[in-house]
Subunit: 452 residues, 2 copies
């Protein structure tokens, strides 16, 4: 369907408004409740005629809205999140993380790409429909949560309790990301996630490495032995049973992936790396989209002193693919860690709450077909790729289980925009591209969802 809206405000006006949103430091891991609520209030105020409001959960609140005035028309539930990742070391930021800062063709700030910018675009489209057309092309419900970056621990209870109000024909996630800046892509799935902390403890206190060296086990060394034992030299995960429930990658999927233009060396170069690396037997894209991973996210213990540290700690996460059951993988990884424990230290595994299974969306889902039309309308010269999200969006499994609906990822974040890292940014041109694409998507879905 042809686009109908005009987005007449200047970039500066959109960015000024988005800057207010980014200025709210809604770090779900650390922020005080008042800050989280203020951020939820800000985004709910953007919902305008959609009855925007903030509702309590057992954790950080959600922002809700809906417009149900087209009886008989299909309904979509738009999901996103207003919380953001911690900033990490401030010294690594080129500008203050909570001051949206324009730098050439991008704007920088924590959360601008994940997920404040992408949700903001949806709000602008809904506002334009209401202002310019007096109506939306279909019924729309909004659910913007505040705990995505900590694994959405309270979302399930909230959605279960409000399942009837949240019912829709399709969920559309404004979280997720375009895989590469140069090509539009639609995600046909996302990886699952489990994570845990390993703690290796030794003596009651740090010990002088000379006065005690040679007599006691070293927790930092024992932790290194555990971490090193979680992979084989060929890049495979050395956890018995880690891969065994995963269906073999089909020859058809391998061909599809091989057809995607991808240059390993250029990819590595852009990241500042000498080369790519990963599980033997799979291409880089196969590993990114179709294979599970185990990563050490952080290590700490002792310091630059001549001590034997009394405690060493690592944080580990696994990205899961279809066929892997999160709790089972957590058990297997824990067993392997305990099997690698050296004598002379104590090893403890503390799993994080909020594991997420992998998620898949069939290529013939009406949401995927509509998204393709929308992307082709905005990027007429570029082929639309079918990718997968290496990241994990916990809400998708929840919506499938409770609302019995699939989730379409439709976000105008791009995966190279330093999500979860210092100097997160958003490409400014995505603002208008995203708004136009959402407009076409909603128009397409108004007819396609009826037909499915």
């Amino acid at each position: 369907m042809a686009a109908v809206l005009s987005f007449s405000a200047a970039d500066e006006d959109y960015l000024r408004e988005l800057g207010e949103y980014v200025a709210l430091p809604s770090v779900s891991r650390d922020a005080d409740p008042a800050t989280m609520r203020a951020t939820a209030e800000w985004i709910s105020a953007q919902m305008g005629l959609l009855n925007g409001r903030v509702e309590q959960t057992a954790g950080h609140p959600v922002a809700r809205g809906e417009w149900n005035e087209q009886e008989g028309a299909p309904t979509v539930l738009v999901y996103g999140h207003y919380d953001v990742q911690p900033t990490g070391s401030l010294s690594e930021w080129q500008s203050p993380p909570f001051e949206l800062t324009r730098d050439g063709e991008v704007v920088r700030g924590r959360g601008v790409s994940d997920d404040k910018g992408p949700v903001f675009m949806v709000m602008k489209v809904l506002q334009a429909f209401i202002t310019q057309q007096g109506r939306l092309p279909l019924n729309v419900k909004l659910l913007i949560e505040g705990e995505e970056e900590i694994g959405s621990p309270h979302l399930a209870a909230y959605v279960e309790e409000h399942a009837a109000e949240l019912g829709a024909d399709l969920v559309i996630s404004a979280d997720g990301a375009i895989w590469r800046p140069s090509e539009p892509s639609i995600s046909l799935g996302s990886k699952g996630l489990v994570s845990l902390t390993v703690e290796v403890s030794g003596a009651a206190m740090d010990l002088h490495s000379g006065r005690y060296g040679g007599t006691v086990a070293n927790p930092a060394g024992a932790l290194a032995t555990i971490l090193a034992g979680l992979h084989r030299p060929d890049g495979t995960v050395a956890v018995p049973g880690f891969y065994e429930t995963i269906p073999a990658l089909s020859q058809q999927r391998r061909r599809e992936i091989a057809a995607v233009p991808f240059d390993d060396l250029e990819y590595a170069r852009q990241l500042g790396l000498p080369e790519t690396y990963g599980e033997v037997g799979y291409s880089t894209l196969e590993r990114l989209w179709e294979r599970p991973t185990l990563e050490v996210n952080g290590i700490e213990g002792g310091g630059k002193y001549t001590v034997i540290p009394h405690l060493a700690r690592a944080h580990i996460s696994c990205r899961l693919v279809p066929g892997q059951e999160p709790e089972r993988i957590l058990d297997r990884v824990t067993e392997r860690i305990m099997a690698l424990a050296q004598p002379g230290v104590r090893v403890r595994v503390v799993p994080d709450p909020g594991s997420v299974p992998a998620y898949t969306l069939p290529a013939d889902n009406p949401g995927v077909l509509a998204a393709r039309v929308a992307l082709e309308a905005v990027y007429p010269e570029q082929p639309v790729l079918f990718a997968k999200i290496g990241g994990s969006v916990p809400a998708t499994a929840l919506f499938e289980r409770v609302l019995r609906r699939k989730t379409l990822f439709f976000s105008f974040s791009t995966s190279d925009e330093n999500l979860h890292a210092p100097n997160e940014f958003l490409r400014i041109h995505r603002l208008r591209e995203g708004m136009r694409a959402w407009e076409v998507l909603l128009l397409e879905l108004s007819s396609r969802l009826g037909r499915s």
Copy 2:
């Protein structure tokens, strides 16, 4: 010789004065030059009639003093240090580290045991000789440095430049420690030290572990592989050539060590450990005194976020024994680290300045004989053990090279007093024991050094 001095001040008076010294936060790694100078001034003021003064070096200054009024009498050079280790995490301290705090039979504070308390005792003995006898039993020179805890990087140049002024028949180090609280001991050597930092770097920034997982090497994982590869499962150091230049442990020394009362389980229990641990084929005491070690002192990288950290770092130190040449060991460890580097990351080794070779003092040195008499005078009921210091005292090799004199360790620190750790403490009874022992030591040396 019989003791002649009276130490009539109350414990409280000594502790009040020692408290002033501990209150000066002379952390050589971090402190500002004014704080370091103030600490040097404080201890030089204690030198009283020994012409106490502060002298500049290329780094933190030294406190110097001397009393040369007995022509023809032997001369000793007393060495110690006024700098202290960093505090580490303040939350682990039971009282502020720079407020000397009495807690039952001990006083707690950074540096009180290493090395402020032990140096303070020497000053009290010298003051008592001068006040009560009008003279010292032999000529005494004092050299209290401010960079021992960072490897004494500028001491060598200073001692070389002032070699003629510092000449003596014996050096006595007030740094070192009594090995166990229950038995007096004399150290017949100390281990050497080399240390380095390993940096493993990956991408230019932290990467989202989902959006990049499986495509790039993980610096924290790669670091763990390196660290794990530095030991074998049997506790030996897996660095080719690490042990090859070390003379075999003699049967006689093994018998001597086996005769020292030592209970592995009790030792482990006191440290809060399930068991002792170390190189296969040697007892715990053999490993502590006679065998080299490689320890991971600290690890850091990433955090509790779902990222692939862009950088992971470890600090490593080796304690060396006679036969090991520090620069050669550093080269061997570096070669091993580079051989363990995985593809896809960059590995860099940064050696710390100030390596120290191992040091040995023969059991028939007149200093050792005098120390034995002094300890037997103070602890008449307890046999004097011959131990070694697992720690490293860089100055000993320097004094041997430049002044051509051996160094006797004579310190009333005890090795369990949380040196280099939070809650460093000193046993209060050591104050009087140490002062009396130094008195007897100086009296003994006045005749024995003449005879040697």
